[in-house]
Amino acid sequence: MYLDLHSHSVSSDDSRATVEQYLKWIAVLRKRGHAVDGIVLTEHRKFDFDMDYSALAAQYDVRVFKGSELDTRYGHFLVYGVSRALTDEIDFSDVRMDARELLIAARHHGAIAVPAHPGRFGIGLTEYIQQGEVFKDVHIVERLNGGSRAGENERAWDLCDSHGYLGIGGSDAHLTSHIAACLTYFPQTIDNEQQLVEALLSERFRPVWLEEARNEAAPA
């Protein structure tokens, strides 16, 4: 199935799209023949424990999972499988946290942290690795990011090649019509955040552009 692992609703300061508008737009994409099975809301610097999107998800037949995108002193990190135990240990609003502590804490609490847009100039993981920083707990990075400028996805690609990282894809949508621009293909069905963490740990997935995600044929 195809999941957009990186998106922002109006719950993020710089997004202008509501969750329902994303889901309506996914209906438009499906009519155009694209396969989009779900999205993960990765709101900036927070986790919305109190938000319940299950009724909307059922109404539009789209999986809606919750995650976070955290600012750290080594760039932004997507976090999947967030729990109270993790938010008790890590201050999600701290823009200068050490990403290495986040990586360890996430795994300790059954979650997983993944560098977002690692090729992004000025703030991607590539910059910090070039400065000599080492991130031994990174195994997966966001290889396709829909908000990338020219050259940034290519830098992420090179990073995957040089470090043997696996790649996911996410739109980084802040506007309705940008949802699902990039996706991650998983061979199995994923019905909740915990299954998403397990699927990422299983290492069987790959990033795709929306154009590659078609209804008729699952990729080999």
């Binding site: 300061d13 900036h44 600012d71 200068r96 100039f121 000025g122 703030i123």
Partner: protein, 149 residues
């Protein structure tokens, strides 16, 4: 190492009044032609009157010029030097017409830190409501400014 933002938090909850701003035909026409607007109600008072307006009507984002004239208090933010305009929202609620006299009421909405391609930034968000001489709300404007290190 949590980043503590230092600024004047006592500004929250206080409304800052500004104006009145007397809106002239020349201002509206200059704004309209400067943007290449061709709507006749923006530039031709006769056309505007034919449409039932008292005089030329301001294009939807006209208030952005006025909000720049509102002298907002210094929040005394202890961070960075350069401030950039990061975002703006205009909700246009009723026509603004030449001859109107508008007042502005502004309050501090939010201050928060984030990181991006150009490093750490602190965002400062203000909200301003414009009313005309009849007390009608004509527009709500939200502005955010990013202060860089």
């Amino acid at each position: 190492m949590v980043m503590e933002l230092e600024y004047n938090r006592s500004l929250y909850g206080i409304e800052h009044e500004a104006g009145p701003f007397e809106i002239s035909r020349e201002q509206i026409k200059g704004f309209s032609t400067g943007l290449g607007e061709t709507g006749r109600i923006y530039v031709d008072e006769v056309a505007a009157q034919d449409e039932g307006y008292r005089d030329v009507v301001a294009p939807p984002t006209f208030c952005t010029v006025l909000v720049n004239k509102v002298k907002l208090p210094d929040i005394n933010l202890q961070f960075g030097r350069t401030s950039m305009h990061a975002g703006q929202r205009v909700q246009y609620r009723a026509p603004i017409v030449a001859g109107d006299s508008l007042t502005a009421s502004s309050h501090l909405k939010d201050v928060y830190a984030k990181t991006g391609r150009s490093g750490t930034m602190v965002f400062v968000v203000w909200e301003t409501t414009f009313r005309n001489q009849d007390g009608t709300v004509v527009a709500d404007v939200q502005e955010s400014f990013a202060r860089r290190e």
